[in-house]
């Protein structure tokens, strides 16, 4: 082991029934280094992290830490913590009902008596030194998600961790919050902490990381200095093939050009819902892909939720094909040919314990009514058809959907809605947290569907992706529609300036 190496994992193997999740993976982390761990979903990133943090036991291989002569044994998260390995997960793993200080110290206090006053003081000092806007005695649940995440990091820092693992920490943060997090990461880096950063956002990797380790199908592809690996190459390494340049999808797309192309399929006037969005107008043409853009929390999802009837509508009218329709509940929208793929896949989308088939036919079944069940043969036919069409990777249609990877779950939910043959499809963050290959599949599918006459609203946090797929973007700020860009205006800087509130330069 070299002097500045804090962590070395050698020849790690991990088997699950029927799957070789990790094969002979090596990973090396140095002091004061931010090291990206990249790979598609199912490449083995999570498994490697879980082996390192003691959630899973490795089947073979050795883990070395700085200052320890022999390979260390990690059997539980506690073991990992004691060895100075801390993890901050995508889903915040703190207790929202306890105070900030309690969250920082619980589970690692010695002795019987606890001097809370001193702990609160210590906690405040740490929070201040890291520039985290939280008070020690505040209930954690009253902080924003970003702050909660930072508290988790503060906890790790105070535990004098040598290795900090950040597992998709940015997926629920907006840009400002991400910037704060990066500042914090750089700060820790200068203190000599080795950081493993797992993310799907390529931009972020190039912004903060020093090195990249790429995994694919449970195997090590390689470790690279960031300057030696331009984006395109990174994506190619992750996918294991040279990728047809991602920016070109749009050009290959077909355009819907029947005579009713300019017709408004859906028109919305002064719609507002209990979620607090300001009344907004909106329309969508037949065969058009448009999008809502804006910062996180600007009300993008709330707009489409209002259209779909998922949030209670308080004012406004919705017209479909020129006729006023009433949408009080999602079922009303569904009956009018509107489909909605929700933002939170786990909460609003999948029903984890049901099979892929049952998840796929669900919306169609609801539309038909539960007293007219689909026959087994029909259900099977539909499921098989869409599994093939969308290339859903599943062992069989009977597999519980929760055992699929995120991207494939998303495809199955998409299949659910496509099966109802909607005229208007709303996709809210359909590509969040899924790998780049599937992302491109979904983007291509969106363009194909539109070319066949479906109207689609596509919402994504990644502006690049929106620019590639949408022909018109509605811009939002502070729960209000503030503008619209289309045609030649559609570029990053114009969108940014509209969001920021100024006119374009």
């Amino acid at each position: 082991m070299k002097d500045n190496v804090v962590l070395e994992m050698r020849n790690i193997h991990k088997y699950f029934p029927g799957v070789r999740a990790l094969q002979n993976v090596d990973f090396t982390l140095c002091e004061g280094e931010i090291h990206a761990l990249m790979g598609e979903n199912g490449a083995g990133k999570s498994t490697l992290i879980k082996v390192l943090t003691g959630v899973y036991e490795k089947d073979e291989g050795q883990i070395f830490l700085k200052g320890k002569d022999k390979a260390v044994a990690i059997h539980s998260p506690q073991d990992a913590q004691k060895l100075g390995i801390s993890t901050v997960y995508q889903e915040i793993t703190l207790c929202p009902k306890l105070s900030v200080a309690e969250n920082m110290y619980i589970g690692r206090l010695n002795g019987i008596g606890v001097n809370w006053r001193k702990l609160n003081k210590d906690a405040d000092a740490i929070l201040e030194s890291l520039d985290i806007p939280a008070k020690a005695t505040q209930q954690l649940g009253s902080c924003s998600l970003a702050v909660q995440q930072m508290v988790a990091i503060a906890r790790a820092v105070d535990m004098d961790c040598k290795v900090l693992i950040l597992d998709e920490p940015t997926s629920s943060l907006d840009e400002q919050e991400v910037a704060k997090l990066f500042k914090l990461m750089r700060d820790l880096k200068s203190r000599g902490v080795g950081i493993i950063f797992v993310t799907h956002f390529l931009d972020q990797v190039y912004e903060v990381c020093d090195k990249i380790t790429v995994l694919r199908d449970g195997q090590l592809v390689g470790e690279y200095e960031i300057k030696d690996l331009p984006r395109v190459k990174l994506v190619a390494k992750m996918l294991g093939k040279e990728l047809d340049d991602t920016t070109e999808i749009k050009d290959t797309s077909l355009v819907y050009d029947k005579e009713d192309a300019g017709k408004h399929v859906l028109e919305v006037e002064g719609l507002a819902s209990v979620s607090g969005i300001k009344p907004f107008d909106f329309y969508i043409n037949k065969g058009e892909v448009n999008g809502f853009t804006g910062l996180l929390g600007s009300g993008r999802s709330e707009c489409v939720r209002a259209i779909f009837g998922a949030d209670k509508v308080v004012s406004g009218t919705v017209k479909k094909d020129g006729k006023v329709i009433k949408i009080n509940k999602p079922i009303d929208a569904m009956k009018n040919g509107i489909a909605y793929l929700p933002e939170d896949r786990k909460r609003d989308g999948i029903i984890g314990d049901l099979s892929v088939r049952e998840n796929i036919i669900l919306a169609l079944q609801v539309l038909k009514g539960f007293f007219k069940p689909l026959s087994k043969a029909e259900a099977n036919k539909f499921a098989e058809e869409y599994i093939k069409l969308l290339e859903i990777k599943t062992a069989s249609a009977d597999t519980p959907i929760k055992s699929l990877s995120g991207g494939n779950q998303q495809k199955a939910i998409l299949a659910r809605w496509l099966l109802t043959h909607p005229e208007y499809l709303i996709l809210d963050e359909p590509t969040r947290g899924i790998d780049i290959g599937t992302k491109i599949d979904i983007q291509k599918l969106v363009l194909k569907l539109a070319s066949e006459g479906m109207s689609i609203t596509f919402i994504s946090s990644e502006t690049d992706e929106m620019l590639r797929t949408c022909s018109r973007l509605v811009v939002m700020r502070d729960r209000k529609v503030v503008g619209e860009v289309s045609g030649d205006d559609m570029n990053q800087s114009k969108i940014m300036s509209t969001i920021a509130g100024g006119e374009s330069k």
Partner: protein, 352 residues
Amino acid sequence: MAFLKKSMGAAKKSKMTDTNLLLTITIVVFVAMYLAAVLFLGEGFLKPQAFFNMLNQNAALIIVSCGMTLVMITGGIDISVGGVVALVSMSCAVHLDHNGGSILEAVLLALGIGLAFGLIQGFLVAYLEIQPFIVTLAGMFFARGMTTIVNATQFNVAHEGFVKLKDTRIIMPEIFGTLNKHGKFIPAYIEIGVVVAILVVVILFCVLRWSKTGRKFYAVGDNNQSALMLGINVKRTKFTAHVICGLLAGIGGFVYFLHVGSGSPSHASGMEMNAIAASIIGGTMLSGGVGNIVGALFGVLSLSTIKDIVSSMGFDEAWWTGITVAAMLCIFLIIQSIVTARKSSSVAKSDG
């Protein structure tokens, strides 16, 4: 319910924790209810002894509710406690009267039975990960069944030392005493069980509020996955909660026995439900992570007050008490859901 709104409004500003907010509401409701009873019903409620009697009658329930609250904070439930109380009082009665045992032996027997239930149920819940409801349901049937096996009929204990202990009255300061019709001074008193109950409340309160172990119960109930990641031994924490709850059921059983002085298979029937009701009224959430021992105390007192109010208003039948308690539970559950909703909406606001 204007006072309620007021107290909630005030709490909103000062950003109380869920636990403290619910506790405040409980205490305010209890005090208001008691004052209303004194004002409108006067007489009986006016005497300090009325209050002390409430404690005397409910000492056992307070102890049992403390255990229940603890288990509920960790996100579990224990419905065996009523059965354990019955089994303990019957076993002690038989031991004292039929076997001629000593009081010390009876106390140890009570503790032993409670501990045994806690250990076994805790093991099943924490380490074999069986639903606490199912485990303790089995525990409840077992305890009730065992009670009848130990002795099938009710009988009063005539053990000399025990009767003396049972009738021991701790005289309260003179100021609480009253004069009777003949002008004779009657001092106010509490029973030994009340002292035990108050000790239990104080000790548990301190443990839960300040100790490391205490805060772990909250963490586990809040989100046990997170608790695990924070380095807490979730299984052991759940196990401990059930053991303490069992032990408290044993202690509560003896205090109950000390109050009634008899053994009967029908003793303490429905006590587990009263304990759950008291915990909820006391601001403990069924979903775990929120709750307070002092709340359990006030929960029991509120329950008892409302029963007294109902019966002194002339609705003596048992169903009226049931209906009022149900109404009260409803109100508190609604308050809890408002508190939760308020929480999530305030978080959403700070996010947006």
